[in-house]
């Protein structure tokens, strides 16, 4: 009797790329929900433009590369890119800005290198950095969150809608937007206010800035889910937060008036989103556990440096892109000891 043949092994665990992507999207849900609760429906509008744009760009890129589009669309990876970008930008971003950012992320951040698995840079961060550098003003317009005094959800809804459509004027933005905690920190320190004075003036919450502190907490919740399900390893989140918190701890102790403490650092801006969702992107991170510790620590430290000594209020995007550059070198220097090789 004759049989067909195939190579070993003949059994598999049944993990799949779409399942991993789906779990990441699920873990982002708390972040989206908290953002919508505190900033209005803006994030949903961003998602509404980001997701179709991402899918369309992916299909276009695959066609241009002479490949079948279906397989790429079904693996779900571009949905994660779109969601991360949509939840990283301000809820008041106009539709064309998010569209452009997503297009850059998918086309120039991913497909120009060969598609899934071949990109050296985190695509969402490539898109974000491009948007930030090209439209710094539009990217810095954050609404006043619900947990700060003097605003309600329906006004936030109206603001989001107008901003999204592009029908808001500069005067409108002046009325609607407030400085984020990191913005306030930056400008306050530049004007030589101390941390206490800045805190008093900008109404910081128990952890960090109003609004964004709860978004960070939601990111921790999502991150905990990913850790428990084994989608993400602890090395990058732990080392990134350590890289962020340790300099903060030291400098806050040395000069409390000019530097915030570690809790503030870790719960403001995109710190937690970065730690659990952005820095952990496996394609662009280091390959070994030891390498991941170095990689994450580098991102955390660079974020801190850019926040306090660099030109932007938040440094996560640039820190991630810089460490993406360093990842191959980190991999070369942190190859784990193979069984039987000298210690």
């Amino acid at each position: 009797m004759r049989f067909a043949t195939s190579p070993a092994p003949f059994v598999y665990a049944g993990y799949s790329v779409p399942r991993v992507m789906f779990q990441v999207l699920l873990a982002l849900a708390p972040v989206a929900m908290v953002q919508v609760a505190l900033y209005g429906p803006g994030p949903l509008l961003q998602l509404a433009v980001a997701v179709p744009t991402a899918l369309a760009c992916e299909a276009l890129a695959m066609r241009l590369r002479g490949r079948e589009a279906g397989a790429a669309l079904r693996d779900g990876s571009v949905l994660v890119t779109a969601a991360l970008l949509a939840l990283s930008v301000t809820p008041l971003a106009p539709w064309w800005l998010t569209l452009a950012g997503v297009a850059v992320a998918v086309l120039l951040g991913k497909h120009v290198y060969g598609g899934l698995g071949h990109n050296p840079f985190n695509p969402a961060m490539v898109g974000y950095a491009a948007m930030l550098v090209a439209f710094p003003l539009a990217m810095s317009r954050w609404p006043v969150p619900l947990d700060a005094a003097g605003t309600d959800w329906s006004s936030l809804a109206i603001q989001s809608w107008h901003a999204f459509l592009g029908t808001a004027s500069r005067g409108d933005f002046d009325a609607w937007t407030g400085a984020t905690a990191l913005d306030a920190l930056r400008s306050g320190l530049a004007q030589r206010y101390t941390m206490e004075e800045i805190a008093a003036r900008s109404g910081l919450g128990p952890l960090a800035g109003a609004g964004s502190q709860w978004v960070n907490v939601a990111a921790v919740a999502g991150g905990a889910y990913l850790l428990l399900r084994g989608v993400v390893r602890w090395h990058i989140p732990a080392s990134m937060l350590a890289g962020l918190a340790l300099p903060a701890l030291v400098m806050h102790a040395l000069d409390p008036g000019a530097y915030p403490g570690p809790v503030f650092e870790c719960f403001s801006g995109a710190a937690m989103l970065g730690a659990f969702f952005i820095a952990t992107d496996p394609v662009t991170a280091a390959a070994s556990d030891r390498g991941r510790l170095v990689y994450g620590a580098g991102i955390g430290f660079l974020t801190w440096v850019i926040r306090h000594w660099g030109g932007y209020p938040d440094g996560v995007a640039f820190a991630v892109l810089t460490m993406n550059l360093a990842a191959p070198l980190i991999d070369r220097w942190t190859i784990p000891r193979i069984h039987g090789h000298p210690r």
């Binding site: 009797m1 067909a4 043949t5 070993a8 003949f10 598999y12 790329v17 397989a71 390959a287 070994s288």
Partner: protein, 479 residues
């Protein structure tokens, strides 16, 4: 010294059905197909010709030096032909013997007074009888024993781990013939000059452990100990097993005897016991299992028995099986035909239906999730090795330890992108071996040329002129 932490997978064992029944004897084949290469990769040299009459135990092939063992006829009858036939590990030369049913023996079984022999003589007797590794590699036992003596290795480790799903021939052997294993351990220990022996058994085989414990106590041999290893595939991989049992990591590029250890399969020990009882190596226990056969079981099968005969002894095929696998579900080799004969390397025949297999999903690009590195037993980074394979970059492959890959299939099992990693690494390892042998050859040639030049420099003027003329001539011709 940190305790050894096993790396690998916890897989469903699928062994209960086949090991429920006792070991039965498979029917002798009508035509025995004796492979000259019993699984080691090199063929022995046939010393019979078509038409010769042989008896059970007649030597039909002798060693050719490297990695070959003598082969003895498992049946009595006439040699039909010597031709290439499909075998578990590919096509190879085989001696076909027509079984006349008489089972006449070449000589009566004469027990060997092995304890009084010198270790070298005992090892030679084992080698002469055709003892080779029963764990799947069929490497000549005598060669390993000689290496152990040369390096004064004192610790024999018997591998009873049998970690791969579906395979349970060693478990059956240990449960029902533990005394043979213990006697074999003593024989092997004497043949290598060992002072102690540890039998390693997975801790999900309590009956085997108990049976061996009882046999060791009955033999009153304090040198032999039983060690449990955690049932994590691939617990039976030689180097990691040795580390788990002894704490010693055999260095890369070295063999276990250089670290004072020697590892043999429990089946090899049982074969050694049979040899000192006077029987040559003519059979082995084979597990025939899978949802594709009616009554899975373990069989004592003569070498050269076609797999189809074993399947018949199991009650035949059930529905149309999808794969006929020589080995287990992780490292086995899918066979194209069931006319393949039993060899020393064939420990299991897995007749798999769709229920036993899991279909591989569509292949995606590597997303560098690192799940493969988490389960790799020798602690490699398969995702980096894959990059090296795709780029065809020998330096990357060497730096990340391609030579240390044991082709266990764990990385394939967990890969969410369904990349056939093991198959890629197997090909890359073969290419690396070819490159390595070319490099060694070039090194040899370089040395020969250096000696040639030196010799000519010291030789007569005429010879030197002749050499230079030839070179100028060639330069003029080809330049």
């Amino acid at each position: 010294m940190a305790p050894y932490r096993p790396r690998g997978l916890e897989l469903p064992a699928h062994k209960a059905v086949a090991s429920a029944a006792p070991i039965s004897t498979a029917p002798a084949p009508a035509v025995a197909v004796l492979a000259l290469d019993q699984g080691s990769g090199r063929a022995a040299r046939a010393v019979v010709a078509p038409g010769d009459r042989v008896r059970v135990g007649t030597r039909i092939a002798v060693t050719t030096g490297e990695a070959t063992t003598p082969v003895h006829a498992p049946v009595a009858g006439r040699v039909l032909a010597i031709e290439t036939r499909p075998m578990p590990s590919g096509d190879g030369p085989c001696v076909l013997i027509e079984n006349d049913g008489s089972d006449d023996r070449e000589r009566e079984a004469r027990p060997l007074a092995w304890a009084g022999l010198e270790p070298i003589a005992l090892a030679a007797a084992l080698g002469d009888a055709g003892v080779a590794g029963y764990g799947g590699a069929a490497f000549p036992a005598a060669t390993k024993l000689a290496a152990a003596r040369r390096h004064e290795a004192h610790h024999l480790v018997l591998n009873g781990a049998e970690c791969e799903p579906w395979i349970c021939c060693d478990d059956a052997l240990m449960r029902t013939r533990a005394h043979d294993v213990v006697l074999g351990a003593q024989v092997l220990m004497h043949a290598m000059g060992a002072a102690r022996c540890t039998v390693a058994i997975e801790d999900d085989k309590p009956e085997a452990m108990a049976a061996l414990q009882a046999a060791v106590e009955a033999a009153r041999d304090a040198r032999i100990a039983i060690a449990g290893v955690s049932a994590c595939y691939p617990a039976g991989a030689e180097r990691t097993l040795l580390e788990a049992v002894t704490g010693i990591e055999v260095p890369h590029g070295a063999w276990p005897p250089e670290s004072g250890l020697l590892c043999h399969n429990v089946g090899t020990a049982a074969a050694a016991a049979a040899v000192v009882r006077g029987e040559p190596v003519t059979s082995r226990i084979v597990t025939v299992t899978g949802s594709g056969v009616a009554r899975p079981g373990n069989f004592e099968a003569r070498l050269g028995t076609p797999v189809s005969t074993l399947v018949e002894a199991c009650g035949g095929y059930t529905d149309r099986p999808l794969r006929l696998i020589a080995g287990g579900s992780m490292m086995g080799r899918a066979l194209a035909t069931d006319e393949v004969p039993v060899t020393l390397a064939l420990n299991c025949v897995l007749v798999a239906t769709a229920d036993d297999l899991v279909e591989r999903g569509p292949e995606h690009a590597c997303i560098r999730c690192g799940d493969c590195a988490d389960v790799c037993p020798p602690r490699l980074l398969p995702q980096q090795l894959l990059l090296g394979v795709i780029a065809n970059d020998p330096e990357t492959l060497e730096r990340h330890g391609l030579a240390d890959c044991i082709e266990c299939g764990c990385c394939d099992y967990v890969c969410p992108s369904a990349i056939p990693l093991t198959a890629r690494f197997r090909t890359a390892r073969a290419e690396a071996r070819v490159r390595e042998s070319a490099r060694r050859r070039a090194d040899d040639l370089r040395e020969r040329h250096a000696r040639h030049v030196k010799r000519l420099d010291a030789a007569s003027e005429a010879e030197r002129r002749a050499f230079e003329t030839a070179r100028d001539h060639a330069r003029g011709q080809g330049g």
